[in-house]
């Protein structure tokens, strides 16, 4: 093995030439807290001579100050980045490290081993094509080893290095190594791995990492670096059918209309026939355009711009595909979801699903079970918490095109985003489409919303009243209802208490039931808007996400949020129904404002100061706003 510096001082031209042929391997290391992952990566950086002089000076100083090797060089300190982590002596997030030999450049995702960090491991594994699973030779195969192996297999990694570390502490015993190897191979047969290579190492001493160890003459396999440099990494995606999610329509002028994107799988050449699955329209590739000139072919991973021969309607989010093997297009599928946020999954709640370059509202319609990542057991559940993995049905507001994840990691993956906080809350992999979707088509109706609204001579919309119990929502909503009625408007008032006696009487007051309660009411309101009505909805509706979800069901401008902003003290003082008293006495659980949160709207169209405005004043404010927005005629 030559390091860059040997070659470069001899023959720069040869060196630079060799750089043009170098490939890139991404891998992940996983193991438990003290298995020595950071030490192994530090050792790889060190042995590939990528530790720079001033980093070495820092490392020497740090090793003395906070090292765990009694003043000797602590390679782990090269890797443990953020100050807080260094002082705790653990890695708490995914860190990416880089090193290179003459054959390959490597990107390592270093992820922590604690149980609570499933999230980070999934993140690191999502882009890796190989995993190094670390085992402490003194401890053998642990529950964590199983968990890490399951997770990397779930994310689609098929090549494994089992690094049996700390061999120096067991006298380089072949028996110990063989026993661990046998146990692991037995266990990992259940997982869809293509290749498992077991290597005895000492990351600290450098045995079988970069250099063959003099202490393990019984071992004849590759060193870690030897394997990393030679393992076949030509991506399987190359042999899959052509897919390219359109990122951006490139239109510098009227004569040029290109579709820019990164090839997710397969290859493409001019003359290839492609389909835009959402419309089913097909066309032929005319040119493959790049900054460096048109090319004759392009392969997986390349970022290109395609020009098609026909003017077909293609926009961002379309998954351009070969006509010979089309992707599935459906609005329901089964998926495995890894929950990544402190706020638990609520089935029925609308989240944003981003797959490829497409973002659309979606919900988990049925949570089938969660997986115990240590035993792979299936457990019944109603929710998924941070770092839990569940199998569920997902239903989308519109169909998307995809492939099952096991066939294509790029077109079978998605993330879920919280509407309100915009946080990435889950990662998902698509198992298969649910065919049900294909068989239930929307009734094509000829009498549509406009027709019905025109007959009533009005614009339909929703006035959504939100606020604490006792804020005065129903009082104001009733008064607005009467006022609109007197103005000749066709209205309907959906009130929380009344709906709970009928449509929603099966629901309680847990967070999940509250979400479902609002979902049903919002869907009902939407149907009424479709019928041409002005709908007044008076519900506490404590969560922003559900109010946002209701807003998204109807067209822009058809939803006005009215926040009756009455302070809790005043509501509690009024206590018309005696509910606050009960809640304070502990007789009523999950009461909004007391032991269940109320999330104030940030951008309600109308805000009423419940403490100072009378119901009459509030009604006037609302009606004036409706007039000003042209939703009702000026009286």
């Amino acid at each position: 093995m030559t390091t860059p510096s040997d070659l470069i001082s001899q023959d720069l031209a040869t060196y630079l030439k060799s750089q043009e042929e170098k490939s890139l391997l991404r891998f992940i290391t996983c193991g438990s807290v003290d298995d020595g992952k950071s030490t192994l990566i530090g050792r790889l950086l060190w042995d590939s001579k990528l530790i720079l002089e001033d980093q070495l000076a820092t490392l020497q100083a740090d090793s003395k100050r906070i090292g765990t090797q009694g003043g000797d060089l602590d390679y782990a300190l090269l890797v443990d980045g953020l100050q807080a982590e260094r002082e705790q002596g653990i890695t708490i997030d995914v860190a990416y490290r880089f090193f290179a030999t003459d054959k390959r450049k490597f990107i390592v995702a270093d992820t922590p081993g604690h149980e609570q960090y499933t999230r980070n491991m999934a993140t690191g594994a999502s882009t890796a094509s190989l995993a190094i699973v670390m085992i402490d030779a003194r401890k053998g195969v642990l529950i964590q080893t199983m968990r890490h192996s399951y997770l990397v297999s779930l994310l689609g990694i098929t090549k494994i290095i089992l690094a049996v570390n700390k061999m120096d502490l067991v006298d380089y015993s072949q028996d110990i190594f063989t026993a661990i190897q046998t146990t692991y191979e037995e266990f990992s047969q259940k997982l869809p791995f293509e290749e498992v290579v077991c290597i005895p190492v000492s990351a600290l001493k450098g045995d079988n990492v970069f250099h063959r160890s003099p202490h393990t003459d019984w071992y004849h396999g590759p060193t870690i670096m030897g394997h990393l440099e030679t393992v076949d990494i030509l991506s399987n995606a190359r042999q899959q059918p052509f897919r390219m999610p359109v990122q951006w329509v490139n239109r510098p002028n009227l004569d040029f209309r290109g579709f820019s994107g990164t090839i997710a799988s397969g290859t493409v050449q001019p003359g290839d026939k492609l389909v835009a699955p959402s419309s089913g329209r097909t066309s032929t590739v005319a040119r493959i355009v790049t900054f460096d000139g048109d090319v004759d072919s392009a392969e997986t991973g390349q970022s290109i711009t395609l020009i098609l021969e026909d003017e077909i309607d293609v926009s961002r989010g379309e998954l351009l595909s070969t006509v010979q093997a089309r992707p599935t297009t459906a609005d329901q599928f089964e998926a495995t979801i890894i929950w990544m946020h402190d706020n638990a999954l609520l089935p029925g709640r609308k989240y944003l699903l981003k797959a490829g370059t497409r973002t659309i509202p979606a919900q988990v319609s049925e949570l089938k079970y969660k997986v115990n990542v240590n035993t792979l057991e299936h457990l019944a559940t109603k929710t998924l918490k941070l770092n839990e993995i569940g199998i569920c049905n997902v239903s989308l507001d519109q169909p998307i095109s995809f492939d099952p994840y096991r066939e294509n990691r790029q077109t079978g993956s998605f993330i879920l985003i919280d509407h309100y906080t915009n946080a990435t809350i889950a990662a998902g992999i698509i198992d298969f489409a649910l065919r049900r979707a294909d068989n239930i088509h929307w009734q094509s109706v000829e009498i549509h919303k406009e027709a019905r609204a025109t007959m009533k001579g009005q614009k339909p919309f929703i006035l959504w009243f939100t606020g604490l119990s006792g804020a005065g929502k129903s009082t104001v909503a009733n008064m607005v209802d009467k006022k609109l009625h007197s103005l000749g408007r066709h209205t309907y008032l959906l009130d929380g208490d009344n709906v709970r006696h009928g449509l929603n009487r099966d629901l309680g007051f847990t967070d999940a039931d509250r979400v479902e309660n609002i979902r049903r009411v919002a869907e009902t309101a939407k149907l009424m808007v479709d019928a041409g009505l002005i709908v007044l909805v008076s519900f506490i509706s404590p969560f922003r996400s559900e109010r946002e979800m209701a807003r998204m069901l109807v067209e822009q401008g058809e939803f006005l949020e009215v926040f009756i902003d009455t302070p809790l003290e005043i509501c509690e003082q009024r206590d018309v129904k005696g509910l606050y008293k009960k809640a304070r006495a502990g007789q009523l659980k999950n009461f909004t404002g007391i032991d269940s949160p109320y999330e104030r709207p940030d951008d309600a169209e109308i805000t009423i100061e419940g403490a100072t405005q009378t119901a009459e004043e509030a009604t006037l404010t609302i009606v004036k706003t409706l007039e000003a927005q042209g939703l009702i005629p000026t009286s």
Binding site: I8, S9, R238, W248, G261, G301, G356
Partner: protein, 302 residues
Amino acid sequence: MPTSTFTHLKQLEAESIHIFREVVAECHKPVMLYSIGKDSSVLLHLARKAFYPSPLPFPLMHIDTTWKFREMIEFRTNIVAEHHLDLIVYTNPAGLEQEINPFIHGSSLHTEIMKTEALKQALNKYQFDAAFGGARRDEEASRAKERILSFRTTTHRWDPKNQRPELWNIFNTRVRPGESLRAFPLSNWTELDVWQYIFLEKIPIVPLYLAKERPIVERDGMLLMVDDHRFPLKPGESPQMRSVRFRTLGCYPLTGAIESTASTLSEVIQEMLVARTSERQGRLIDRDVVGSMEKKKQEGYF
């Protein structure tokens, strides 16, 4: 099956282009922070590739502290003219008024007012919701864990404990009004990758990266270039002509040169590979305290 011609640099290039396109497709008002250095040169080159044959769909913005090397400004002028770029130059007016001077006020106050504060002002002024930058994960330990899209609060702060997970190549670009993203298309590039790419793609860079005789004063072990008359010479100091080059470019009073005779790009790469001193060493700002970059980032430094 034929072997892939998709080398590591081609792959890095494609991934950077993907990031550019994704941010432009989803954000309302992106901008590219252009610092004139070699990473900015690569960033600009990749951006032009990403949108070709369309012109760049965003402006460039340079936070000018007024203390940049003269050759940097000259280079900037030429590049903008050559590629017909839309360039915004912003300087903190309060800093100008107070005549902030790194020689008098020190590196930390100068950086705080003329860079960190200036950048926040400019982002607020133009209401950009995404800013491309040339930072790389291999530059400094705290950056190794930063995301490709790094979320900033309405006050431009970075919270390392509250980052969005990034899986596959799916990016969550959503922000609320006033919040913003920093996008780092070069996240996975190393210094060596950058140099090799400049070499292979023949990307123009500021001549200060190449060795030449320059007027130098040695102070506290740093070789500082006397770039203009504002350099206050201490008693006994007089600029010596020495053959030097710069590994990193910034404000001339804060940027140390290294002695070198590498006057061509290939010589620089050769020297860099043999010499091995990581590149932030030439910048003063990291020296003060352990974890200093992490602190600066939390405060809003890029």
